[in-house]
Structure formats: C-alpha cells, structure tokens
C-alpha cells in the first residue's frame, strides 16, 4: 500500500500494535469544563443529536496533527462544533458570536489577556 493510500485508510487513532514508548502512569483530575464536556457528550448521545459513534468519527476526522496536539476534551468539543455545523444545528457565525459573549462575561483580571492559542 502506498504512503498516501495508507494515510487515507489508516485512521490516526488506529494505533494498536504500533511502536510506542514506555507506559506513562499519568492521570489528572478533570477540570470543571472537562467534566461538563463529558456530560454534554453523554446528553448529546441520549438525544441522538450526536451519538457516540459520530463523536468517535468526528474526532478521527480532525486529522493526525490535531489529534496529536489537542487534549482529550479539546478534541471532543471541536469535533462537536464541526458535527453541529454539518448537521445545520449551529452555524460558525453563531458560535463565534456566542464565544465572544461568553468571554466578555469573565471579570477583568481573571482573564486579562485574549483567550486563545498563545
């Protein structure tokens, strides 16, 4: 199989049996927004707005670079946004305006730099 063919047919999350380093026995307590994101995923599945399989598929569709660099729940929320756009449930403009609104709620000092990637 050619390299480009393999890029298309092997999902970036399909890593069983690939070479990898030693086990890192790491864990962290979920941040409140991460737990909220998990609860959101469950509720979206209960209503079949985004079922579990669509969530998996949506994360895979982010591609190898985002899968490698975003954290677990960062991948989820970006995947949800993309799926909701595709389904016509949300529009990108609507989400951008709401994100501005949410950011504006934060008291000065707590968030005195622009949010986003450094």
């Amino acid at each position: 199989m050619s390299e480009t063919e393999s890029l298309v047919t092997r999902l970036p999350n399909d890593i069983g049996g690939l070479p990898a380093g030693p086990i890192q026995r790491v864990d962290h307590e979920l941040a409140p927004w991460e737990k909220c994101c998990h609860a959101l995923a469950d509720v979206l599945d209960f209503h079949k707005i985004i079922n579990t399989e669509e969530k998996r598929c949506g994360v895979e569709a982010l591609g190898a670079e985002m899968i490698g660099k975003l954290t677990y729940y960062e991948r989820w929320i970006v995947a949800f946004a993309n799926i909701l756009f595709r389904k016509g449930i949300l529009t990108p403009g609507e989400l951008a305006r709401k994100m501005d609104e949410v950011q504006a709620r934060w008291p000065a000092g707590v968030n005195d730099e622009p949010a986003g990637r450094p």
Partner: protein, 115 residues
C-alpha cells in the same frame, strides 16, 4: 430454498424473524476477519485485518452497524457482533513470551467470513 435464518431457533413453526434477529455465526465457528480498507470510519483495527480466529460468543443484543452510525444513522437493521478469540501468535509472528497468549475483540458480522 430453505433459509434457516428466517425461523425461530426453537423450531416454532410459522414465526418469521426479522432480518438480523438470528446470528449468522455460532460459538465455535472458525472465522477470518476480512481484509478491506474502508475510509472515513471503521471499528475493526488494522492489526486484526485478515486474522483467523474463532467465535467465542454471540454478543446480545444486536446493534446497528457502527460504521453507518458514525455518520448519524441512529436506526436501521441490527446486526450481530461476535466476541472473536484469536491467538497472539496468529496476529504477531514474533510474539514474545509464552505462546499461551490470546486476544478477544468484538467484530460486526459484516466483517467476518467463515473458513
């Protein structure tokens, strides 16, 4: 042609079963996981493609094909998944350590062939 998949397993006469209600494979059946390379979404890891194993159990209840579910199909014909037993030496030719090593995985019947 006689089609046993239409009949209830306990031999009840006259009861026609829906598609997918009767599992295609039974425990003990030797099977091979198909070698195919779908794009977009799948749930059969590449390291298991083409590997031979045995049906250990039928997973109940049947479920929707998860490759279709991945694109928002929340309904449709349900198919059976099977718990497949595969020796580690079948998967990894250079498997280290004891030969007594095995893998178990759930595979949808669309991905299995009888051998």
């Amino acid at each position: 042609m006689h089609d046993s998949s239409r009949e209830a397993p306990d031999g009840q006469v006259g009861i026609v079963l829906a598609w997918g209600e009767v599992p295609v494979f039974r425990p003990g059946d030797p099977v091979r996981i198909l070698t195919r390379y779908p794009v977009g979404h799948y749930r059969v890891p590449i390291y298991l493609r083409g590997k031979r194993g045995m049906v250990e159990a039928v997973v109940e209840p049947a479920g929707i094909d998860n490759e279709e579910e991945g694109y928002g199909r929340n309904a449709g014909i349900k198919l059976h998944y099977y718990r497949i037993a595969i020796p580690m030496t079948e998967i990894w030719s250079d498997y280290q350590g004891s030969h007594r090593g095995g893998l178990r995985v759930e595979v949808c019947e669309t991905w299995l062939e009888r051998i």
